[in-house]
Structures are given as C-alpha cells and as structure tokens.
Subunit: 182 residues, 2 copies
C-alpha cells in the first residue's frame, strides 16, 4: 500500500530504544530496538514485540499560509546529524472526533497553536505524522521527530509546550518512545 | 477493522446492478449484483468481479452548524422504502490533495456548496461516504446514496448539480453504478 509504514518494536532495527514510557493510558511492551519500514505484503522477518502501522496523508488543518511556511522551513527525515528520534503515538477521545471541522481547527491552532509551536523548532526538529485511526489501529496518530543530540533540550521544550495545550486535554492514550542511532 | 466495509461486485448480492458506466477515467468491469458488507478477515465466499473497500470516518469539512443541520435532517441507510441506490466511487487529482485545508474547504463548500446541495434532498436521499484514499484503494471515496423509486428524478438533479461544481473539476476518475433491490 502506497505510503503505508510499519513502526516495529523488536530485538532488531536501526534505532535503539533508550526509553519507553506510558504518558496516559496503557503503554507498549518493552522492546530493545525499533525499525521503520515501508509496508510490504511480506511478513516481518523475525518475531516482533509490537508493530504499529500508519499512513502518510494530507495535512488536515493547515492553511495555505501555514503549509507554505512549513515547506519553506522544514527539512526531511534521515539527515546524517539527526541521531536522536522520538516516536509518540497518541489516541484522541471520542469527544474530539465528534467535533466538527471548524471546532477541531479552533482548538488545534487558534487555541493550541499546534503548527505554530512546531514551527518554532524548525528546521532543527524534523517531524512526520503517520495517520492510523482509519486503519483500525490502537492509536489515531504516530508522531515522529528527528533531531541532532544538541537539540535534545529544545525537543523537551517542544513536547512540554504541546502537552500543555487545550488540544492535549483530548488525548486519552499517549506513549513516549525515545530513540538513538547506535 | 472497525467501520471498514467492502462493496463487492459479483454474481451474488442484495442489490441488482441496473447500470454501470464510467463517467471519467476507467470504469469497473460488468457485474450483475452488488453487496455491501462489514469487512471481516474472512475471504469472500464466492468469486468476485471487483471489490472496493472504504472506511466510515469523521467529516472533514463540515462546520458545527452544518453537522447539526445534517444530523437533524438526515435519515439512515436501510429504510424499507429505499429500494434504489447509487454507488459513485470518485478519485480526486493530485492538485486537490496538494491544496491546504482552507483552500479545499473554500472550493468544497463556499464555492461548490457540496453540503448545502446534499441538504436540499434530505431526508429523501440518504447518503454515506466511505473514505478509501488512505487505504491504498483505486478511488479516494465511495459515495453511496439510497432513495425510494419516487425520488429517482430528484436524485438525477442532485447528481447533475454536484457534477456542475468547481469541486468536480478536481475529479479525475468517477464511475456511476445504479442499483435496485430486486
């Protein structure tokens, strides 16, 4: 499937899992390493501890101005300097999904400044969102961040600011997985 | 998978296919009957001609006022009087998906009045949208309409009005399948 990815916790994979902790709701089982791969119909080559699937898709809230700003400032995944990463899968509540588009946009950006906060850390902290709600997955989104070790403090700041927003009151499950290229 | 459906063209199924024609781009192969079923992991019990999969999901453009109006006026699928249906799968262009949310909303509703046009035919013509773009399907959406035979003329009017919108200039594939309960 085009642009479908699997993020797999196992005893193999390019990323070492340095920390894995539940933030809200159930966590994920302990695993040593993580791999991100474009999904194929092949089964995983080895036993896995868990596997999350997500789809790269279009942005759901950003305006043209925001999209243009993001594209002008963001850099892609896989930069050689980006030897740290975080995978933070989240699930929002039924109350969130029952909101209309204008209500979700108002909370997401006008009140919570989700895009604007992320923009403050570009290009240092690269981001990728995987959508999974419509795939019947346990999370609605897998958020993925990559950065150089010298931006680790900035990353903690970014995460703290997002968790302090009104949008985050709609999060009913969140797990925080920190990663390093060994 | 929760709320995932398969719409299957085959020689079995509750709905008789009265007409099947390509509107834009490639059509679908001729089949005698259609069935809609909640997707299970079971394979189809018999050979199928084609099978489309889609996911019921949240509304992407409607405001709170529009959602409230829709909920107040629409009726569900499966009414005993609704012995006619139409399945119209559509695929939008890359140019559509490259638009930002505010641009898509402006075309969808402010210019094309997509929700408002549908509202004009409620409750007579019941509608259900299945999302399939993020499932790697050949179409982005499967639109489904159900109505009583006496509303067939109104339905033609609804379809003609939608096809005459600016939104429809972004449709690059569309097939029109008309159905009846035998």
């Amino acid at each position: 499937v085009h642009n479908r990815f699997a993020l797999v916790g196992a005893d193999f994979g390019a990323w070492t899992i340095d920390a894995l902790k539940p933030v809200r709701g159930p966590g994920l089982d302990k695993a040593a390493r993580l791999t991100v791969r474009r999904l194929a119909s092949d089964p995983d080559p080895h036993p896995v501890v868990w596997r999350l699937e997500g789809q790269m898709s279009n942005l759901r809230y950003a305006t043209r101005r925001e999209v243009s700003d993001l594209r002008a400032r963001q850099e892609g995944l896989g930069r050689p300097s980006a030897r740290r990463a975080a995978m933070i899968p989240i699930k929002k509540s039924a109350a969130w999904w029952d909101l209309a588009q204008d209500e979700r946009r108002a909370i997401f950006e006008d009140q919570s400044r989700h895009t604007a906060i992320g923009m403050d850390y570009l290009p240092a902290i690269a981001r990728q969102l995987y959508h999974c709600r419509d795939l019947g997955q346990p999370f609605d989104f897998i958020t993925w961040f990559e950065y150089a070790p010298e931006h680790a403090v900035a990353f903690e700041d970014l995460v703290a600011r997002l968790r302090d927003t009104r949008e985050w009151t709609y999060i009913e499950r969140e797990v925080d997985v920190r990663l390093a290229l060994a």
